[in-house]
Symmetry: C2
Subunit: 198 residues, 2 copies
């Protein structure tokens, strides 16, 4: 496992307890006393998981969560709360939080949750990386090539594509060849299998 578990809570005893807990399980953890402190500690590249207290001084957990997402960070977030705040729980979960736990929490449960979050995120990251790779490749296509790609994915024959675009079949063949090369696949089937119906 790579990355650090970041604990953001304004109560030092909680931070210390969680830090100690994760350390004792061989997990790399670090505490922060406020949302501002955590967020300004850029870069947050080594985030494996973030544990956020809901109620903190200026910046509450949900706000920190929102800012993380706003800056494109997809790290899994587990909320801790000492108050039975259902609307906040619902909102954060629907916004993509991994879990929402009431204090006092169970040690094993929290560790388990963090591990699950990290595992799920890593799996999602692998998928996302593959997807980004495809997107990057696809972005390198010229406008015409992109058009041809779309029609290819609809299962159209070169001749039909040529008619749709009002160009010669030979031209379509050339575009098609370039598309396959740029997308790093050997044939249209592989391409369609990766891109699906997008």
């Amino acid at each position: 496992m790579t990355g650090t578990i970041h604990i953001v809570d304004d109560e030092e005893p909680i931070r210390d307890a969680l830090s100690f807990l994760f350390d004792s399980r061989g997990l790399n953890a670090r505490g922060w006393a406020s949302g501002e402190e955590f967020l300004s500690a850029q870069p947050l590249a080594d985030c494996a998981c973030v544990i956020l207290d809901v109620r903190m001084g200026d910046l509450g957990g949900p706000e920190v969560f929102e800012r993380l997402r706003a800056m494109g960070n997809r790290v899994p977030v587990i909320f801790l709360t000492g108050h039975a705040d259902v609307p906040v729980a619902v909102r954060t979960l629907k916004a993509g939080a991994f879990d929402f736990v009431e204090k006092p929490f169970n040690d094993n449960q929290i560790v388990d949750l963090a591990l699950k979050a990290i595992a799920a995120h890593e799996a999602a990251e692998a998928m996302a990386a593959a997807r980004r790779d495809l997107e990057t490749r696809r972005a390198s296509l010229s406008a015409r090539e992109e058009e041809v790609l779309r029609l290819m994915l609809q299962g159209q024959l070169n001749k039909q594509i040529a008619d749709s675009l009002g160009i010669a079949m030979r031209t379509v063949e050339v575009h098609r060849g370039r598309v396959l090369a740029k997308m790093a696949v050997r044939n249209a089937v592989e391409l369609a299998a990766m891109l699906g119906g997008d």
Copy 2:
């Protein structure tokens, strides 16, 4: 919009208020005084949306939800609760509930939520129906045809598939043709676009 909005709550005033509310918006709604009553009113085929109170006599909302899911019903469920029960909210949302609302609720909010739930479910249903259609078709393939299908999706040529399976290319061609026919597509690209990397 098709189907009825089912309201399951042991408090008659709430049922009546919600029924009246939905009726006044031109939505078809019906109330039930208990989970048992609702569940035993088979078939539940015309469910567009279910609104469940969390705490009810014998069978609580979460249990009703669980049973619905256990019997394969994917209808969107909105929970209502009079008590700030965070763990239940978290559990039900993670189990796929559409939303979790605290009483007292806002009339417009509830209607809006129900409409959103129904719209989302209908969209999901359309996707699921297409998927089921594919699954059904795929299930009609013979074992050999399924093998050939898999290798086709990997972008392998007939010759390579023939080598992989240790059979003649002509045989692969026959299987391939039958696969395309049974899956109701015109070529391998269409097939791959629908099935993706499955």
